[in-house]
């Protein structure tokens, strides 16, 4: 099997890498690049724990083959904070205690981050729909939705 050379932007920095085509983007990010924020839950596009942002859109990295990263602009949860300062989305999840075990959290944060770029004044229902591809076994979702609503309010959307 021929390995593939790819180049892409990861969290603002250019990366060059040789990948096995039968590895997923998730596996490469976690095991070759040691960024373990994105998690594997189901590995089949159901749970959203592996969500990353590619060219501005939230996608399941478990459904992406590694070579598909070539030429893309990729953001993982590790790329959000700058100089030790968390983004408002990350901070809101902490302030609202919108997590328990935390396994789903990076996925929720990436979905939220992409969604709020696309819809700056979402209703609660729109938030729920946008996050319906992220599953959480612990929180019951209420605090997660509240955290997102808080970000919207603080950004002046409401």
């Amino acid at each position: 099997m021929k390995k593939i050379d790819i180049k892409f932007i990861l969290n603002g920095e250019p990366v060059e890498l040789t990948v096995a085509p039968n590895h997923t983007a998730l596996r490469v990010i976690r095991e070759q690049l040691d960024l373990t924020g994105a998690k594997e839950g189901c590995g089949a596009g159901e749970c959203g724990a592996c969500t990353i942002i590619v060219d501005g859109l939230a996608v399941n990295s478990c459904l992406m083959l590694a070579p598909e990263l070539d030429g893309k602009n990729v953001l993982t949860v590790e790329g959000l904070a700058h100089d030790g300062k968390l983004t408002d989305v990350q901070q809101a999840f902490i302030d609202h205690v919108a997590l328990q075990c935390g396994y789903c959290t990076p996925g929720f944060i990436m979905s939220t981050t992409a969604f709020l770029e696309e819809n700056k004044k979402p209703t609660r229902e729109e938030i729920e729909i946008a996050l319906s591809g992220n599953l959480c076994r612990c929180t019951g979702y209420k605090r997660i939705i509240e955290a997102v609503e808080d970000v919207v309010a603080k950004r002046g959307g409401k």
């Binding site: 085509p21 596009g45 159901e46 959203g48 399941n60 992406m64 946008a130 591809g133």
Partner: protein, 278 residues
């Protein structure tokens, strides 16, 4: 996931040449939301994965009233559900694409991929059936066009040859056509459908397409014929429901029983007919 060679051609010609030489050893990759799961589960074990996402000719959505809508093979559900023309002239199709999987899935999955997967419950397919969409295919011998009702032949089976590629689908623009898309599932978002349907009305004629009630999505031609020109009242609806029942053959599976699917199919018909005649 088994090992395979990954190739990413840039033109339709190259794709077809590759498919012609690899034949059944190749799998075409577009959005990947179905293919990658099947690779992972080793349901398919291709020697070559041909990623078509770098073929610019396959991108985009075009519309004008005389030629209708053209949805390129790489148009994602996200692009379709947000397309200005689709929203205005084919709102039920926008709706259908907006109900596929999760947001993350819609950002990658394509409607043409949904068609080629040929699942009986493909969320974005019933609008194509209502409009008698035309599937535009290219192969080594050139282009051909196949009506969508002939394209899908059985569960996950289509008339596409191993060396052919779907370039996109054409859907005519029909003045005055109104349509309603309905999805019934256990959970409002993300879930697979128990029943999907699109019901359209043009003048006093109806076009009725259901998914998940037979091995392929189907048009309920007898029900359509019965309803033609009729004034919709409770009695007509009841008769139409009975004809509908004779035309569908749903199965019981882990998501719903046969009886439940029949009952839901009838409700969808009733609600859509009422809404279309309001």
């Amino acid at each position: 996931m088994r090992e395979f060679e990954y190739v990413a051609p840039k033109t339709v010609k190259e794709v077809i040449n590759l498919l012609a030489s690899y034949k059944e050893k190749a799998t075409v990759l577009a959005g990947g939301t179905d293919v990658v799961v099947r690779l992972r589960d080793e349901i398919i074990e291709p020697e070559f994965v041909v990623d078509i996402k770098h073929v610019d000719e396959l991108k985009g959505i075009k519309f004008d009233k005389s030629s209708g809508l053209f949805v390129g093979a790489l148009a994602t559900m996200h692009e379709i559900e947000n397309d200005k023309n689709v929203k205005e002239f084919y709102p039920y199709y926008a709706d259908a694409c907006g109900h596929v999987g999760s947001k993350q899935v819609r950002n990658k999955a394509t409607s043409v991929g949904n068609l080629c997967t040929a699942s009986p419950l493909g969320d974005s397919l019933t609008p194509m059936f209502c409009l008698d969409a035309i599937v535009v295919i290219e192969g080594p011998k050139g282009k051909r066009e196949v009506p969508v009702r002939e394209f899908i032949t059985f569960v996950r089976k289509t008339v596409l040859e191993r060396d052919e590629l779907v370039l996109g689908i054409k859907m005519p623009y029909i003045e005055g056509l109104k349509g309603i898309y309905t999805k019934n599932a256990r959970r409002h978002e993300v879930d697979l459908s128990n029943i999907v349907a699109t019901i359209c009305k043009v003048n006093d004629e109806y076009r009725i397409a259901y998914g998940s009630v037979a091995p392929t999505p189907i048009r309920l031609v007898k029900t359509e014929e019965f309803l033609k020109g009729k004034k919709i009242d409770d009695k007509v609806i009841e008769e139409a429901e009975n004809i509908l029942e004779s035309e569908i053959s749903p199965i019981s599976d882990l998501r719903a029983t046969k009886e439940y699917r029949i009952s839901v199919s009838k409700s969808i018909l009733k609600n859509s007919l009422k809404a279309l005649n309001n």
